[in-house]
């Protein structure tokens, strides 16, 4: 089975701090994703990466950056945390197939981040 591991289940940080959320997958997937999940809003894509050192903005990239130095690891960075970034953050990965296929995404357990 695919294993997507997020480094923390719960995290509490202060406004203005630089925050790192780490995600590791063990199935050699090319694609990795960061979402935030908020009640009534579903999952919204922050950033995704389709290869090492490659990244693309999702729907809500403002205030976030990402890093993918190795294929198995995808980091989400909050450059200067703010209270409106308090949320559940989900990491996912998937295989890449030419032409776009129905490969499912595999998710981690999520990190509940509180910014005080």
């Amino acid at each position: 089975d695919v294993k997507v591991t997020q480094s923390s289940r719960y995290l509490v940080k202060r406004t203005g701090e630089k925050v790192f959320l780490e995600c590791v997958q063990d199935m050699d997937h090319e694609n990795m994703f960061w979402y935030r999940q908020d009640p009534g809003l579903g999952l919204r894509l922050i950033y995704f990466s389709y290869d090492v050192k490659m990244k693309e903005k999702g729907d809500i990239p403002e205030g976030y950056s990402v890093s993918r130095e190795k294929k198995e690891r995808f980091s989400l960075i909050l450059e200067s945390a703010s209270t409106n970034q308090t949320s559940m953050y989900l990491c996912a990965s998937s295989l890449s197939r030419p032409g776009g296929s129905g490969q499912p995404q595999h998710f981690g357990d999520g990190t509940r981040l509180s910014i005080l």
């Binding site: 776009g100 296929s101 999520g110």
Partner: protein, 117 residues
């Protein structure tokens, strides 16, 4: 832009009964994929079922089946013989087949399903 709508924020079903969760979507494409994901209270999202738009036959996975109405852009999930373990948040998701290899998904806002013993 594609959108996915789940109009039922919460649903409830008695154990052993059948429940249907609704999902509609909007797209101008003819080929795409649709998914239902389940997020139990432990929070790991897992794939329940997948449907290819070019297949007329509705997908089925054990007690889970879909009613895919392409013309109406409707993709409902039916859970038969509901079990306590089915209690979860359910998300409908859309993937444009022409989105390339990156497999970007568009999610609905979710339906929270409660199963009553």
């Amino acid at each position: 832009a594609q959108t996915v709508t789940q109009s039922q924020p919460e649903m409830s079903v008695q154990e052993a009964e059948t429940v249907t969760l609704s999902c509609t979507y909007d797209t101008s494409e003819s080929d795409y994929y649709l998914f239902w994901y389940k997020q139990p209270p432990s929070r790991q999202m897992i794939l329940v079922i997948r449907q290819e738009a070019y297949k007329q036959q509705n997908a089925t996975e054990n007690r889970f089946s879909v009613n895919f109405q392409k013309a109406a852009k409707s993709f409902s999930l039916k859970i038969s013989d509901s079990q306590l373990g089915d209690a979860a948040m359910y998300f409908c998701a859309f993937k444009d087949i022409y989105g390339g290899a990156t497999n970007k998904l568009i999610f609905g806002t979710g339906t929270l399903l409660a199963v009553q013993p």
